[in-house]
Symmetry: C2
């Protein structure tokens, strides 16, 4: 058991107890805990709530750093901002922090729809919120954003899915598969029954390298961004940044999230009809792909935008590619803030 | 020892015996064999010779299918076309076909420069050719094309590097590293001392999947190309096409080529100065990136084009991405043929 996921790194956060939470795949998480961090104050009319979802490996702490701050669109002075850790991310109920017997590789399969239903209970039961001013998230957080807008259209006034799709593509499925296999191919993984997460360090290092290939962009490397960010060699960048980020994580947590990511698909709500699913959306939506994203390219996002009523498409420009979500490209963050300001100021 | 590499699959070809061939990394291939296939007839003035190089895993047979034919630019009626198998590809001297003791994982490190020096001996000693009308190749074959143009500028009248760079990029290095590790992470690999190549099938399957992610493009999948090519599901495409292609290959051969690919760099000829290296080129050169190539994107190729005197850039359009090199996109092949016709008809 690692303490990487402790409050020191990722807190403070609150826990919402869902009790025994049934899952779409048929399983159940007993005593399911949803960890969330809230910022600002809910207005008397409860009309100023923003939900921020989390990406693969992301927790409420990094979302706070990337999205929230005074003078920014997600300003706690104006909004009540709830960041919810996705199931499996290591903070909410996850393979590594669940009690026996349903822990580790025995933790049940979780879907994006489960995340959204769990978040819905938090939003309604805990806070009594009937409508969210905005749901926003990147990557797997975008999957949750899309799912919210399709599943609970009346509750989502505005939606901003960043660098992520509502239905996982074949290419994305295969990419996630290669990530999964970096870990499961490590003999130390032992079908998930490793003694310590760090025993799987070879697999986690390969996982970090595959992210190094697909997470950024060819331009990111060609223009020497690793060096500009303080990593003098490619090897140092891979070790100190990529493995530094992913290395401390729990393999079963990552695998739980990877499966969820692979199977994200809002058309499950409409018998497999994606156009019908996206056609349900009433939220004012801005679809925000990142220009150099190798995982969720503009074209994949644009195709979904075209199926979404009341949506616009804005391409965020960054050679950081998908991992521009980490917030290291100030210019793109400025563009993102401007887009979110605009969305929040629009009537919806 | 597999018979995948036999004459039935990859012949006919001739063997040029290089004797003991010293390598740039300091090793030597004893009794080094260069396998080549020749088409057409060398003119009396020896001015109609075209050299075709081979890519990672590629052999003379697939180059013949992709590039050569009556009525096409590489027409044996007009040209004497020599396709040379790169060292390590399984047809020329390679880990799997070399005699003990320097076989398998003990096979020495080979560089792109070694390929080109070996090919130079074939061209000059065997055929007495002093100048090549054209050197053309894709991917690792482009690396050899670039190396030819830099190393022997007086011998290369025209050069057509397709979907490959003269100096390997950091991104490309890291991508090749993830390919290498799909194989070396397989316990059956046994540091290269496997009993049969097929024992490493788990690693080879992962290798095929990573190629599935980076080799094609997101558009290739989004537009349903796998199905159009006769593979009804993603799983069938990965198994029947990708693993079907790479699965029969020898892991040590692939690793030999992967290392060579990672370390390709024409600036080794000029003390690390890429501009100086490319500045040496006198060949009329057309740089041919593929529009949707995730490995060698337009921008990386364009940067080298700008450093190359007497060069033009033409983007080949194909959603097949890098593996459009396989020749499955007829429209791109027509475009390629037109570009090569134009290059061959230009005075040089």
């Amino acid at each position: 058991m690692t303490d990487f996921y402790g409050v020191e790194n990722h807190g403070p956060y609150e826990i919402f107890d869902l009790g025994d939470f049934p899952l779409e795949e048929g399983g159940v998480i007993r005593g399911c805990k949803l960890a969330y961090a809230a910022f600002g104050h809910l207005s008397a009319t409860k009309d100023n709530a923003i939900l921020v979802t989390t990406w693969y490996s992301g927790t409420s702490k990094i979302m706070e750093k990337v999205f929230i701050g005074p003078g920014r669109p997600l300003d706690p002075e104006s909004y009540f901002i709830i960041v919810v850790n996705n199931l499996g991310n290591g903070i909410s109920s996850s393979p590594h922090n669940s009690p026996a017997p349903a822990c580790g590789p025995r933790f049940p399969r979780v879907r994006i729809g489960d995340d959204v239903r769990a978040q819905h209970r938090l939003i309604t039961e805990k806070f009594g919120i009937e409508r969210l001013a905005l749901v926003v998230g990147g990557s797997m957080g975008a999957q949750q954003t899309w799912e919210w807008a399709v599943r609970f259209p009346d509750m989502v006034a505005r939606a901003a899915p960043i660098a992520g799709t509502s239905k996982n593509t074949e290419h994305d499925f295969l990419f996630a598969e290669t990530l999964i296999e970096t870990i499961t191919s490590d003999p130390a993984w032992e079908d998930g029954f490793y003694t310590k997460a760090s025993d799987v360090h070879r697999g986690l290092m390969r996982h970090a390298k595959v992210w190094g290939v697909m997470g950024w962009s060819t331009e990111f490397y060609r223009q020497g961004r690793p060096k500009a960010l303080g990593f003098p060699t490619l090897e140092d960048f891979v070790t100190s940044f990529m493995f530094g980020y992913f290395g401390p994580m729990d393999p079963n947590n990552l695998l739980c999230m990877a499966w969820k990511w692979q199977h994200g698909d809002v058309s499950r709500n409409t018998g497999g009809d994606l156009a019908a699913a996206l056609g349900r959306i009433t939220a004012k939506t801005v679809v925000l792909p990142i220009s150099h994203d190798m995982i969720f390219p503009i074209s994949d996002c644009e195709a979904e935008h075209k199926l979404t009523p009341n949506s616009t498409l804005e391409v965020l420009n960054s050679i950081d590619g998908h991992l521009a979500l980490q917030g290291l490209d100030n210019s793109m963050m400025t563009q993102l803030d401007r887009a979110l300001f605009e969305l929040l100021s629009a009537s919806a």
